[in-house]
């Protein structure tokens, strides 16, 4: 309990400090977490606990492990003292500068603070300059847009900022916020190692700045790097770890982290959305849908992460729900990349790929680095058989995030369409490397191996096996495996997979030619193996079906009976009507 209270106190102070330094998204994040902490129902009136939705039955249902005990064991909290305010006499100028900053007049804000030496003022000045540079960069990007929307505009403030911040750092007159900015600048400059170091320093001394954590996360592309970080213990670290595990595709670890955190921040929408995303990556769509429905009920104007929800709806082909979601986000904020992406998804589901592309384009106009929009646009282009455009879109996606398996997969697909299976294979390999649990990827790869040009059936079989192990919902893998084994003249294996496939189809109550094929194979196989009983079972099952197989089954049965009774088969032929 006390930790909850201390958390609250820490967050409250942090929010004030962050927004005082114009680090708005960090302060927004902190505020969300603050409200996410369960309130003491005795202390607060219902109006205060309005945001507390402990009553949600769904949430209870899907809360896997009831965590009531607060700190997860094994994490020793370093009680970081809340920073002392830098109470210099800078007040008035700072206020003016902050007002300018709030009005997005960054250079003006920086100018007001030109002679101020307080840490806070220095930070705000530098930050304002950085943002001014970013703004100019964005504008230049549009003005000097090269082919395919690429541009080499740079933030022109970076050099001077780096110089200044480096000196401050050297003189040890820099505060954690300054370090964060320094890290940011270093990252932009491409000096990743130093940037990591600086950012670690920043978050160690001031852990409540989520922006710093996010920057750090973007610099940790592998587990090794992550393990190499020297992070002091704080509950914020848990958030970081959960987030980075998700990024590094350690979904289960991430999920458990988040669920731990949920014990403390019971009502955090952020955590809920992250859990949903993690579960989405684990392809647990039903649960994700429930979580998002709950989330939308509590936070109806939320646009963040809703693209994931739309992906779920897309996969589940919920036309109406998807259109409803699209309508909703349009009404909330039309010009959010997420909104456009959702509409794009909707049109894609409707089969109107041109319109879909229009909306993905808009999403990308709004955010150049919107990864999923690039990928999805690539998918649309594939649908429209515009492979060059698709390849371009996918490449942009992997440029932004090289770990995006969907983009890699898309690239593979595109090359496969162009009849370049070796290239395709390469990209499929990349794709399965990043997402080994997705059967679709394995199947795609296997199909690539199977293709005329390669005809590497052994490899294909390997891939199909992986796919079959990965919860292949469409049950392609087993069937293909059986066929491949049959073709490779490995009847035992083939029979094994046919049997498996048959079992599976029976379990799912599926009908179709595959059943007949499997039955047929099994019947003949067992007959040749002289396992007449099994063969008979399959033959009689075949009799339920119409077509030539039925006749074959009849003659098989007859033949078997004759063989069993010892008559020569010649006579059967003879007596046949």
């Amino acid at each position: 309990m006390s930790s909850k209270e201390s958390c609250r106190i820490e967050l409250r102070t942090a929010i004030r400090q962050l927004s005082d330094r114009c680090l708005y998204s960090a302060s927004k994040w902190a505020a969300e977490q603050l409200v996410g902490i369960e309130q003491d129902p005795a202390k607060f009136t219902p109006s205060n606990t309005r945001f507390q939705r402990g009553s949600s039955s769904i949430r209870r249902r899907f809360r896997t492990n009831e965590i009531t005990s607060t700190p997860p064991t094994g994490v020793a909290y370093v009680s970081t003292p809340v920073m002392e305010e830098d109470e210099a006499i800078h007040g008035d100028f700072y206020l003016l500068a902050k007002s300018y900053f709030d009005c997005r007049e960054y250079r003006r804000a920086a100018h007001v603070l030109r002679d101020q030496t307080g840490k806070k003022s220095v930070f705000l000045r530098c930050y304002a300059l950085y943002l001014a540079g970013e703004k100019r960069k964005e504008e230049e990007m549009i003005e000097l847009e090269g082919p395919l929307g690429k541009s080499d505009a740079v933030n022109r403030e970076l050099v001077s900022l780096e110089r200044e911040l480096a000196t401050l750092c050297k003189n040890n007159t820099i505060d954690p916020f300054g370090l964060y900015l320094y890290g940011l600048v270093l990252k932009e400059k491409g000096n990743e190692n130093l940037a990591r170091k600086v950012l670690v320093e920043s978050v160690n001394s001031y852990p409540w700045n989520w922006s710093a954590w996010s920057e750090l996360q973007s610099l940790c592309t592998t587990v090794d790097i992550l393990n190499g970080l020297n992070l002091s213990n704080h509950w914020m670290k848990e958030f970081f770890l959960a987030s980075i595990y998700q990024e590094l595709r350690m979904h289960n670890e991430s999920l458990s982290k988040y669920e731990n955190l949920q014990g403390m921040f019971t009502f955090s929408n952020y955590i809920q959305a992250q859990i949903a995303k993690a579960r989405y990556s684990l392809r647990e769509f039903e649960q994700v849908e429930v979580i998002f429905e709950d989330l939308l009920r509590n936070d109806p104007y939320r646009v963040e992460d809703m693209d994931t929800y739309s992906n779920v709806l897309y996969t589940k082909e919920c036309f109406s729900a998807l259109s409803y979601l699209a309508h909703r986000v349009i009404m909330t904020d039309k010009y959010r990349p997420e909104s456009c992406c959702i509409i794009g998804n909707y049109y894609s589901l409707k089969g109107q790929h041109e319109k879909s592309v229009v909306y993905f384009r808009r999403a990308l106009k709004l955010n150049k680095n919107y990864l999923s929009a690039w990928t999805l646009m690539g998918h649309e282009y594939v649908e429209m058989k515009n492979t060059p455009a698709a390849v371009d879109a996918y490449r942009r996606a992997v440029d932004i995030n090289p770990r995006d398996y969907r983009a890699w997969y898309g690239l593979g697909q595109a090359y496969e369409m162009m009849g370049m299976p070796h290239y395709a294979l390469h990209y499929f390999r990349k794709s399965v490397f990043f997402q080994p649990i997705d059967s679709r990827l394995w199947i795609a790869m296997a199909q690539c191996y199977e293709s005329e040009q390669l005809h590497m059936l052994e490899e294909a079989i390997k891939c199909y096996k992986r796919a079959a192990n990965c919860n292949d919902t469409e049950a392609i893998a087993l069937h293909r495996l059986a066929i491949l084994h049959r073709e490779l003249d490995q009847p035992e294996e083939a029979a094994f997979y046919y049997k498996k496939d048959l079992e599976r189809m029976e379990a799912e109550e599926r009908e179709g030619p595959n059943i007949v094929e499997a039955l047929m194979f099994l019947a003949t196989h067992y007959k040749t193996q002289k396992k007449f009983e099994e063969a008979e079972v399959y033959c009689t099952r075949l009799l339920d079906y119409t077509g030539p197989e039925r006749e074959t089954a009849k003659s098989l049965l007859r033949g078997m009976r004759i063989a069993q009774s010892g008559f020569p088969s010649m006579d059967v032929e003879h007596f046949h009507p």
Binding site: F319, S320, L322, S323, Y324, A326, H327, I330, M331, K334, I343, Y346, Y347, K350, K355, V358, Y359
Partner: protein, 993 residues
Amino acid sequence: MAGVVKAPGAFAITPHKVSVCILVNIYASPSQISVPFPFSSVSQHNRLGLYLLALTKSCDDILEPKLDQLINQLREIGGLLDHLLTDHVTSRLSSLSSPDDLFNFFNELRETLGGPDSGVMEDDQVILDPNSNLGMFLRRCILAFNLLTFEGICHLLTNIGIYCKEAISSCSSYELRRVDDSGNDLESLSEYENMDLNLVFKKINEEMEARKRATEQVSFHLHLPKELSTLVEDIEVSADPKSEHNDKGRESSSYASGELLRDVDPNGGVFLRTNWQIQGYLMEQADAIEKHGSSFTLNAFELTLRQLQKLAPELHRVHICLRICFFSGLSFLLFSWLPNIILDGRSYLLEINHSDKFWQNSAGTEGFDFVPPAGCNSFGRYEIALLCLGMMHFHFGHPKKALEVLTEAVRVSQQHSNDTCLAYTLAAICNLLSEIGFSTTSGILGSPFSPMISVGTSLSVQQQLFVLLKGSLKRAESLKLKQLVAANHLAMAKFDLTLWFSAYPCVMFPIGVMKISLKMWQGTYILGSCKHVQRPLLSFGPKTSTKLRTCPIIVCKELRSGYHLISEFCCEGSTMTADGAFSTAWLKNLQKPMGSLVLSQDNGSRNNSNPFLFFTQPSSIPGSVMQLVGSSYLHRATAWEIYGSGPLARVNALAYATCFADASSSSDAALVHVKLIQHLAVFKGYKEAFAALKTAEEKFLCVSKSRILILKLQLLHERALHRGHLKLAQQVCDELGVLASSVTAVDMELKTEASLRHARTLLAAKQFSQAAAVAHSLFCMCYKFNLQVESATVLLLLGEIHMKSGNAVVGLPYALASLSYCQTFNLDLLRASATLTLAELWLSLGSNHAKTALTLLHGAFPMILGHGGLELCARAYITEAKCYLSDPSFSVPKVKTLVEGTGLLLLVRWYSSFSKSPELVLDPLRQAADELQALEHHELMAEAFYLMAIVFDKLGQPEQREEAASSFKNHVMSLDHPHDVEDPIQSDTLLNA
């Protein structure tokens, strides 16, 4: 919202269209039975189909109807099905809750359309032909929907919500029914609610009506269509439609829409109809303006324009006005209420020259009457704009400017070889020239027309005009512009009426073209002051070689060549307006209670004065065509008037008033009224004429300086003369003179008429020398300006003056000259009256000429009795009686009497043989007295009774003699003391004037 800019003229999908689509879906649900489920009979099914067709075409408003209006109409057509239909529509609309529902709905719609490969469908299966009207509508809707962005779909969804909500709030029963379909008890509950509502509505309705009455009193003539008048009101009442079945329901709902318009918020569900429906609406407005002239209130129209501008900012206000001006075509409406347009016009032209969006968008794409020229460059519209501007200048009375602009238009359209525009422009110029006369314009005409008129300046202006007209006709024929062809034929007929002399170019005088008004000698009845008839220019004196073409047959021949128009108008692009108007009428008829036309209130002021109600069937012939055909009847009437046949002229005028009153412009309608009233005055007397005038005044009074006013003055003057109110007569006469010379120009016709009347007033006052002087100067003027008919009339008047002053010998040559004029110009009736005067002159020369007089008289009798008016007949009778009485061979005793007060010297001879057949004299006298009674012509009555008294005296019948004598006395007394008879009309005329 910035992303969703409505493209101008786009076919936007709206809630109303969605509900129409739902209905179409019901109508053509893809089922296997010939009559789909909800319909019990084919006729029901067809009725819905008709209704839908009408919905997609009708153009009675710029706004689409609200859902409750739709529901009301559905109730009318649905019969037993109305619940099913309305429920289906409302429930379907309210089930559209997400964009995907809309998607699915439109996908479903696509299924109702038979595909191009649907050849294998069964006979009784209902599938919409994609090329049918409804099919096209559906396809357009589907296309429009498919073009929508996602945001657009979201907006549509929101709008549908608003659209439904409005309807639900206005008739709550639907909501209740929707909430629980099965609840019978709920239904009764809703009835209770309705009862309450009904009470409220009734009250509000009463209040509304009271208010309306009040407004009606203020602006004393409200001829504007209901939709517009309602816009002026500011009460929102949505009446329960069930309680108000007839027009009231409709009215109140349009109140609601009017109110909604007032504060159009961009998100509110206010939608314009489709482009061509709006065009149809504008055309209807143009028709209405033309029909009702200046009684069409500016404010109401202004309001509509403002709304239109707000809702469709892509339509410039001046555009719309120009448009309306153009739509109203070549019949030239009165635009006096939009004077500021002219100011805008110039600057606008510059604008149009550059941007010219409007014409391209509207004229090119959707059923414009105009055949778009081949290379439709930006200039292609410039000349049209010029044409419109020129026409407007003309309406506002700047003929010179108008001519300049039109000349420019000719130049531009020649330059761009836009023949269509050229033909129209030429027709416009012809019209302009023939209306204003062009002594001043000959200079302007010269240069630009030289390519067309190769003879150039050697031709007279009249001939140039004729050539222009011919050119226009030729072009119109080659371009197959039927309306223009017909209009040109009409113009040619006018030319024939104007006594066009092809053989006499050299004798033309380059002076104003005047209008004739055929006046009868002495009777002074103006049979026709017809604007359509222009006076030709002719040197004085009939020439032997002149070819006269006033014969009505020729005119009719020319007219008939324009008639094929009616049968062929449907080939033209303007069918859609006809359809639209037809559909509108159809929909409006829905609102009327079935059967009882008597009870319907809506055809109030307009149809009251029109005694013929059989034209209530909505016609599918467009108004402009009707108008053209109608004016051909007017031409015929005029032709017959000139020829002198009153009855035939009347028949034509009546035909016009009966069949074309709905389509006619206000000026034409006024003209026909004038004609009919004049006819009444001449043939039935003043009482009926004034009664008719009163109704006519109610209709047309607001037109200042109208024909009606002139007619009133004319009638007043004549009656005053007859009654002997000489002072009043002079006063009225002066007023006429004032009207003649207005600010803009001198109306020669009116001027001559005024001075003619002046002369006659003087004559009645026995100031012979002055009367003669006035008549003489008048004749000089008529001679100078080649007003032939007037010359004949004045000559006749001079003869009469001389006769009355006792100088019969001097009068004789005047009468003869007049006679020769009449002979030359085929003016039969005038000739008859000249003959009568001649007979009178002969008679007054002495009793020995009585036989000559009688022969002359008998020669003229067929014409006089057949076509003459009351006074003419009476005069003829009296003269005949006098002839008998003065014939020396007729009777022995010779009596010479001076009738006191009249100054008439009368010689009566009494012959013995007379006593044998007194009826020979008494009969005509009695008849004359009877006829004069209606005219209140005291002077002639006195004479008739005097003669009767004498005859009775001689016959030795003292009682009858006394009776006649007392009548004589009465008439003489009332002639001397004219003010005994009060007269309501004259007082208010003087006040008005």
